[in-house]
């Protein structure tokens, strides 16, 4: 029963994505909508991403310093671990989990509200490919802007690690920078961007699907918004594991 429902949703999702990625009626309208979405996602999420990244970097530094206490591992390893933790895992994953809550639920509610208020029917009758017009610009905008947010998150996370460890005397500034520059593998940055691309696609397409297929009623709209976050989060973590297995 559950498997049948799951396959049913998967089929509907794939069909919707097939319709969403078809030729636009008018490219300029889609471009305008994509730019608006980029602004909403990028600028609208910047503050929350910076705050969270700052604390994640700080916590990573403090926790690792605590683990190192009384060991022979050199202190500059704190900088090294903060860098790799933020680049490989924390920046892409935590940022996208947070964005699933902020951007994903917003998208599901926006499209779901349009469905319930007959806006989508109105567009459909005008001759608009609603799946394409409402979903494609959002996904394209997210895939372009979220990797930038993830990169910002990685930098801020390292800054957070510095702030939490250097002024508090856990290690010197020189040691922290030395750690940041040690054992650097550019491949990790590539992996961070792969994760950012995959996660941003997942969180927007799943949220748009939840909104687009919402049933009538305010409770259903709330459910769609919640499902958008929960399913996006699960899929992000699943994809995180799969990417780690494939790319490492």
């Amino acid at each position: 029963m559950v498997l049948t429902r799951l396959l049913n949703h998967l089929g509907k999702y794939l069909i919707l994505m097939g319709t969403a990625f078809s030729k636009p009626e008018k490219a300029s309208m889609y471009y305008r909508e994509a730019v608006r979405q980029m602004y909403d996602i990028g600028i609208g999420s910047l503050i929350i991403v910076v705050i969270i990244s700052l604390f994640i970097g700080a916590v990573t530094a403090v926790q690792f310093a605590y683990q190192l206490d009384g060991t022979l591992v050199p202190d500059y390893y704190i900088g090294y671990v903060v860098r790799d933790m933020t680049i490989i895992e924390l920046a892409p994953t935590i940022t996208c989990l947070v964005l699933a809550g902020k951007v994903g639920s917003n998208m599901a509610a926006e499209i779901g509200g349009m469905r319930q208020k007959e806006h989508i029917d109105a567009m459909e009758i005008m001759g608009v490919n609603t799946a394409a017009y409402l979903i494609m610009p959002k996904v394209v905008a997210a895939v372009m802007i979220i990797p930038i947010l993830v990169a910002v998150s990685a930098f801020v996370g390292m800054g957070g690690g510095y702030i939490a460890s250097v002024p508090t005397g856990l290690l010197s500034g020189q040691e922290f920078v030395m750690g940041l520059r040690s054992f650097f593998m550019p491949y990790n940055v590539f992996m961070m961007f792969v994760k950012a691309l995959v996660f941003s696609y997942l969180l927007t397409s799943i949220s748009c699907y939840q909104g687009y297929t919402v049933r009538p009623g305010s409770i259903e709209l709330g459910k769609a918004s919640t499902n958008a976050v929960v399913i996006s989060d699960i899929m992000i973590l699943l994809a995180d594991y799969l990417i780690a297995v494939v790319l490492i």
């Binding site: 008018k26 007959e118 806006h119 009758i125």
Partner: protein
């Protein structure tokens, strides 16, 4: 012209519409009436393609509507306008942006041409000077008029109106009815109105179709309603004792 042949539709084994045959002519206000649950909205949704019938055919000017590909359907829809029950105006857009939306999406008009066309349509529905307002700043009647302006902005050949008077006072309803009727005649549009407003029926109903339990049980001009002895029609139109007395008096007056 829209022609419907043997349309049927069921939901989860419940027959909502069966064997519907009808012709909706251009330049006329074609009204679909009936009690709640009679199948009016389902018929309208079938006609615009938001639902697919289980049986039967629909023809738009001899084009088989159900046989169209998605691309052809979108092309046909450029000739269709629809006024929704709740107006369905995009609430994040101003009145001007709402009416301009189909022009932005489907035409290569310049900004000046679009602006002129929007103003012409808003003027036609007597809504000058509200271009910069948002739908939430307008009354229900004004929202309906913006909905009409948006529906006619691409000069449609077919106009569908789903409960255009719902939630409006009788006087505003009359204004909306007359507006739809005038636009229909002026532009020789095939207009189909789904309503249960009896004032609309008696004022603008050139071709009235009464649905009862999923079937057409009466069809005719508004002037034939008084004389008809179809019980379902009389029960529906003259539902209250007051209206029944009124009808009796009118018939007696005519006989004398």
């Amino acid at each position: 012209m829209i022609k419907v042949k043997g349309i049927g539709k069921s939901f989860h084994g419940t027959r909502v519409l069966q064997d519907i045959h009808a012709e909706f002519l251009p330049g006329q206000a074609n009204l679909i009436i009936g009690k709640s649950g009679a199948g009016k909205t389902v018929l309208l949704k079938l006609l615009v393609g938001l639902l697919t019938p289980d049986a039967g055919q629909i023809y738009y000017d001899n084009t088989d509507f159900l046989g169209l590909s998605k691309r052809e359907l979108r092309q046909l829809r450029l000739r269709v306008g629809m006024l929704f029950q709740g107006s369905a105006l995009f609430d994040s857009m101003t009145v001007e942006e709402n009416v301009r939306f189909p022009l932005d999406m489907f035409t290569t008009m310049t900004a000046r041409e679009k602006s002129d066309r929007v103003n012409t349509c808003l003027n036609r529905v007597s809504l000058d000077g509200v271009n910069a307002k948002y739908p939430s700043e307008l009354s229900g009647g004004m929202q309906k008029r913006v909905g009409i302006a948006r529906a006619i902005v691409l000069n449609p050949a077919f106009l569908f109106c789903d409960e255009p008077n719902s939630g409006l006072d009788p006087k505003t309803s009359l204004v909306i009815d007359e507006l739809i009727k005038d636009i229909t005649v002026e532009n020789h549009i095939t207009t189909i109105i789904n309503t249960h407003d009896m004032n609309s029926v008696m004022e603008v109903g050139d071709n009235v179709i009464l649905l009862h339990e999923g079937r057409i049980c009466w069809q005719g001009h508004r002037e034939d309603i008084m004389q008809s002895d179809n019980e379902v029609l009389q029960d529906f139109i003259f539902a209250s004792p007051f209206l029944q007395r009124l009808r009796k008096a009118a018939l007696q007056h005519k006989a004398n």
